[in-house]
Symmetry: C2
């Protein structure tokens, strides 16, 4: 039984985490999925995992998904356009302007190519980490160009919908400048911050709290992949980093002479701008002022957190978000629970009546 929107064979080139995850999901929907990879062992692994079948001479794919590293994306797309002159080709690389420009420079048939980019996964793990549900609920940017017919764009949107993701249409230029701001620059900043820890003493780093953990988490990303992403999107990343650097220089001037008239005001304005910037991020997370945060102490024992959440469910309160914090060496964790402000007082009272210790609460 075929439950997919996409019609015909789908050929996936590159059997890593993204490629294999796409294959798993499409096959589950009844699609005839072909997988290919320049590495025979990667390919066999992906086939063993059920991501698709090996290519045959008689293949006639309607749609080809190129899921290879950014550096080689354009070359592989060009090869596929030539090898399958009736197929529509997309790719899933984290940058979109550079591959299109390379394809144009190479004289490829770009009217059969529409780039795309799922904001999903962590680019870790290869086929062994692939999951059919990797893309569910994630934005997936589709970047039409020139006068690509609507019918062609719809085929890519159908693929995105088949994979459970949310299609977002923008130009390649818009995509690259957007991810430069929300993904690539944060990666650079987190990396540079984590780099400063190399000069730290053990004593200093033992004082690390949740703020340092959060700001440096993505600094553990794969350098090989990020060299390619940053190199390919440098035109969009560099201006934002220069603005950041100029703001940093301004702050450094103020902090180097904090007693000079105006210095404090300059620092305060940057801090207020940071407040305003973070308030623009949509979603449910901690900084969202619409919710009250309640911090509950949870013993570091199996089952304690489940017991807490069951109790909250029993009280009839819907939890909007949950964060766990640990202190090194402590036998307790802290669960920060976000709820609607109107239920805060009742939840605290009921939890305390149930023997839970509340370590803090605020709006």
């Amino acid at each position: 039984m075929n439950e997919s929107r996409v019609v015909g064979q789908v050929r996936i080139v590159g059997a890593g985490l993204l490629g294999a995850s796409i294959g798993l999901r499409l096959r589950a929907a009844g699609v005839d999925v072909i997988v290919d990879d320049s590495s025979p062992s990667n390919l066999n692994l992906a086939i063993d995992y059920g991501a698709g079948r090996a290519a045959r001479d008689t293949d006639d794919p309607a749609l080809i998904v190129v899921a290879v590293p950014p550096d080689v994306t354009a070359a592989v797309v060009a090869t596929e356009l030539t090898a399958y002159p009736d197929a529509l080709v997309t790719d899933v690389a984290s940058v979109k302007v550079a591959p299109l420009a390379e394809l144009r420079a190479a004289g490829a048939d770009t009217l059969r190519y529409i780039g795309s980019h799922p904001l999903a996964g962590r680019e870790r793990g290869g086929a062994i980490s692939a999951r059919a549900d990797l893309f569910i609920g994630r934005p997936w940017v589709v970047t039409p160009h020139d006068d690509i017919p609507t019918a062609q764009i719809s085929i890519i949107e159908d693929l995105v919908l088949d994979l459970g993701a949310v299609p977002v249409i923008m130009s390649a230029e818009q995509h690259d400048s957007s991810v430069a701001l929300v993904s690539h620059v944060p990666q650079v900043v987190s990396t540079l911050l984590a780099k400063q820890l190399l000069r730290s003493t053990e004593a200093a780093i033992s004082l690390a709290g949740q703020g340092l953990r959060d700001t440096t988490r993505i600094a553990s990303s794969d350098p090989e992949l990020w060299v390619q992403i940053l190199g390919a999107n440098s035109a969009d990343v560099v201006p934002i980093l220069r603005d950041f650097r100029d703001d940093l220089d301004g702050l450094l001037t103020a902090l180097a002479a904090p007693a000079v008239p105006g210095a404090r005001r300059a620092v305060a304005e940057v801090l207020a701008d940071g407040n305003a910037g973070v308030a623009r991020i949509p979603g449910k997370h901690g900084q969202d002022r619409r919710f009250s945060q309640i911090v509950v102490m949870v013993d570091d024992r199996a089952g304690e957190l489940a017991r807490l959440l069951t109790e909250i469910g029993g009280i009839g309160v819907n939890m909007e978000d949950l964060r766990l914090e640990h202190s090194p060496g402590a036998q307790v964790g802290l669960a920060e629970i976000s709820v609607l402000p109107e239920v805060e007082d009742r939840l605290i009272a009921d939890l305390e009546a149930g023997g839970w210790k509340i370590a803090g609460a605020w709006r």
Copy 2:
């Protein structure tokens, strides 16, 4: 019944979140706690909340805790040293060198003053957010100076232990350089990153993922408090920020001409240094390579997460950490669970058998 280590009356000056939380905990242990605040309404609120009693002419405190903003800490400590010539005085400000230097310059009796700093709370909310358990399991730095007798230091350590925190002894200079690195510089970097979002389009910011949320979370901190902290610790913050700026300039040079020989290698080395820096942070969090991460889809319904955790408890697996991720507009959340690698396969198999969808897994 008195269960405290500290002996005699404790006077707390400043009835905000920290001062009131200290009072609540000490009173619960049977200590005679006096609270004072320059604002009568703050003071009455703290007394109503049970943080202590109002001052009397006959008070004879053995220990005074000054819990006021950094800018006025030294002045308030000096006043207290004069008003109570037999008391030992500590403070809880986030900087330690500046208050001590100010006290010395003012000719205060610094042999009765030992600065300290609990790495706890979020400096939000005032007495209304105070909790007796705010400090449990948190590091609390104690900064002896000159030839302060061991017996005096022990009194502050007893206070820290009474509050459930973990005393960490270091000099004021060590403290300030440590928190500059693990707290103040991350605050500045997160703020400057969030500031760049002010120039973003709605379309760009709609692509924000967990990486941006994590790196900018602390950018929502209180500007008024942070102006004081950064101003007081600028001598330690500025050199680290300059190193950061120099690293950023190096990266900008490489990214501005990514095709130049050596540019890619320079970028890769910074990324690898970031990996090495973040690996130095102790604790249980996401980047900890000792654990496997399993991502489970959880319907956005009350009780679903509790059901998942109960099931994991039933399987007999101990969860090392838990993170929730949300995608804007999606009806599902993702729970990222950290477990020991040896139980990963069994947990995945058992959860899938129980009908849970696994969205990813990696080490």
